[in-house]
């Protein structure tokens, strides 16, 4: 956690600061360039010219240390699961996870016979927003990201948790 978080009593100043801080966090949520499968292509398409994630302030970072949002785009297999967890642990707080596509949500089409597929990434890391679809269209990913931004904006990072 950052050095200012959860240190202050609730008052008007911290409320304003809280607002500014969560505004900043939501506006500049940089995502982790991390594609697993089919959904990664749609993620790339979302970042590319037509949909352009930079519009909503999202920039790709390839080092987990510098990223805020991890978009789990694709099927998480058992061989990969420990690495996904490791990458999540390497990210700096505050960190958010978007589970993109049916595979990351629940195993998707591979859930029944997939002996090597993790049935949902939420079994190993906490997920903030689930984006359904196989693969989700860029529009739905953007919708998921905007939902995440809403969620971040409602946070009160500075005040002490009751």
């Amino acid at each position: 956690m950052g050095f200012l978080e959860n240190r202050f009593e609730d008052n008007i100043i911290t409320a304003k600061l809280d607002q500014i801080l969560s505004w900043a966090r939501s506006t500049s949520a940089w995502y982790f360039q991390f594609g697993l499968a089919c959904c990664a292509i749609e993620m790339m398409a979302t970042a590319a010219s037509r949909h352009d994630l930079e519009r909503i302030g999202m920039m790709p970072r390839s080092s987990p240390r510098q990223a805020d949002v991890m978009i789990v785009a694709g099927t998480v297999t058992l061989k990969m699961a420990s690495r996904v967890k490791l990458l999540y642990d390497q990210m700096a707080d505050p960190k958010y996870v978007i589970s993109m596509g049916s595979c990351a949500n629940s195993g998707g089409p591979y859930s029944r016979q997939g002996y090597h597929v993790l049935k949902g990434v939420d079994q190993i890391i906490p997920v903030d927003v689930y984006v359904p679809g196989c693969p989700p269209r860029p529009e739905s990913l953007i919708e998921g990201l905007l939902k995440l931004q809403d969620k971040i904006r409602k946070e009160r990072p500075l005040t002490k948790k009751k």
Partner: protein, 373 residues
């Protein structure tokens, strides 16, 4: 001064790395920048495709073939349905044949665009990647008006296709092809003939002809090595024998035959050839016809097996299907071209620098979904 002690370092490229094109892990031994040994470790995306096939009916397998090679989903399901049709001896209507060829060639262009773009990204050029995505989006639009999906279509069915071409498809197609032909020159200007790009890719990662054949490397990678081998020409399936097109091969214009630039160039040229095929198909397609005419009541092939190959954007895509007469296949094996291409990596990339290895990997145009299945 004592002796300088040099030591090899083991480096793990991946499974998460910006230019491994998915979740591939390369275990490399490095001596400074020079790579002395490469061991690809795959399987991080092993989604049990073949196990699923043994438990699903023949039609239900089609979406899974889409998901194997998610960049060229049309081509993948095309190969599968052709194999099943051959096993069942189904004759599909003329219009369906043409629609399938048009879709497969469009998807080949889309796949090559992505391959070239990400190759540029590996070399460090970001802008061409976005330019190529811009045109790829327009192809996806055409798919979308046809079958409603952008990436994974489930469009090819056994005995037909899921939807007929919509109104306005032809006009949109012609318009797109005209504009796209011009855009190819733009790519050549910004990437292909860029001095730095040539320096980085020409004479790098040379794959000699005999090595390529010995490894079973096919498709643009083999043609880049100067072998004129294209299943569409040499073993025509569907109706490919009706079209006039060339098979571009690598000639070593910028370096030697079989280098990364040649593989890049073959893909760029193949887009031109695909445009030619699509134009001919659009001209010749029967205007009327029911695409659901030849759909079988139930897909239950007779006992037997078949190994059927088609030319996917990555090379010879083979399906080995064994039927035991029941509605579910006994075994479906996918012979994936990217798998064999990747197996040749350690042969051709050893001894190059770290940056080159990633460029060579990019030039092979692998899709991990297809390698791991």
């Amino acid at each position: 001064m004592g002796l300088v002690h040099a030591e090899e370092m083991t480096l793990n490229i991946g499974p998460q790395h910006p230019s491994t094109h998915g979740v591939l892990r390369l275990k490399v031994k490095t001596d400074g920048e020079i790579i002395s040994e490469i061991t690809p470790v795959i399987g991080y995306l092993h989604r049990c495709f073949e196990k699923h096939c043994e438990n699903l009916s023949y039609e239900q397998v089609i979406p899974f073939t889409d998901r194997c090679d998610y960049i060229a989903a049309m081509n993948n399901s095309f190969g599968y349905v052709l194999a099943v049709e051959k096993l069942m001896d189904i004759q599909v209507p003329e219009r369906v044949e043409y629609i399938r060829v048009i879709m497969a060639e469009y998807n080949r262009i889309a796949s090559h665009l992505l391959a070239l773009g990400t190759f540029g990204l590996d070399v460090g050029a970001y802008t061409p990647f976005l330019y190529m995505f811009r045109d790829r989006e327009r192809i996806l639009d055409l798919f979308e008006i046809t079958c409603g999906a952008r990436l994974l279509y489930n469009y090819m069915w056994v005995g037909g296709v899921s939807h007929d071409l919509p109104l306005g498809f032809m006009e949109a197609s012609y318009r797109f092809l005209d504009e796209f032909e011009k855009n190819i020159n733009e790519y050549h200007n910004i990437l292909s003939y860029n001095k730095i790009f040539i320096e980085r890719s020409a004479d790098v990662g040379i794959m000699p002809k005999d090595v390529a054949i010995d490894y079973g490397v096919t498709g643009p990678n083999l043609r880049g090595s100067g072998v004129k081998w294209d299943l569409r020409k040499d073993e025509p399936y569907s109706i490919y024998n009706r079209f006039k097109f060339d098979v571009p091969v690598g000639t070593g214009i910028m370096g030697s035959v079989g280098d990364c630039w040649d593989r890049y160039w073959v893909r760029a040229e193949e887009m031109q050839e695909s445009i030619k095929i699509i134009r001919q198909a659009l001209d010749k397609i029967p205007r009327e016809g029911n695409v659901h005419e030849a759909l079988p009541k139930k897909v239950r092939p007779p006992k037997g097996s078949i190994y059927f190959r088609t030319e996917s954007p990555r090379g010879d895509l083979g399906y080995y299907i064994i039927s035991d007469g029941t509605p579910t296949p006994l075994r479906v094996k996918m012979r994936s071209p990217a798998f064999t291409a990747l197996s040749a990596l350690s042969e051709i990339a050893t001894g190059w620098m770290l940056s080159d290895v990633l460029v060579i990997l990019g030039s092979l145009d692998i899709v991990l979904g297809e390698i791991d299945r």
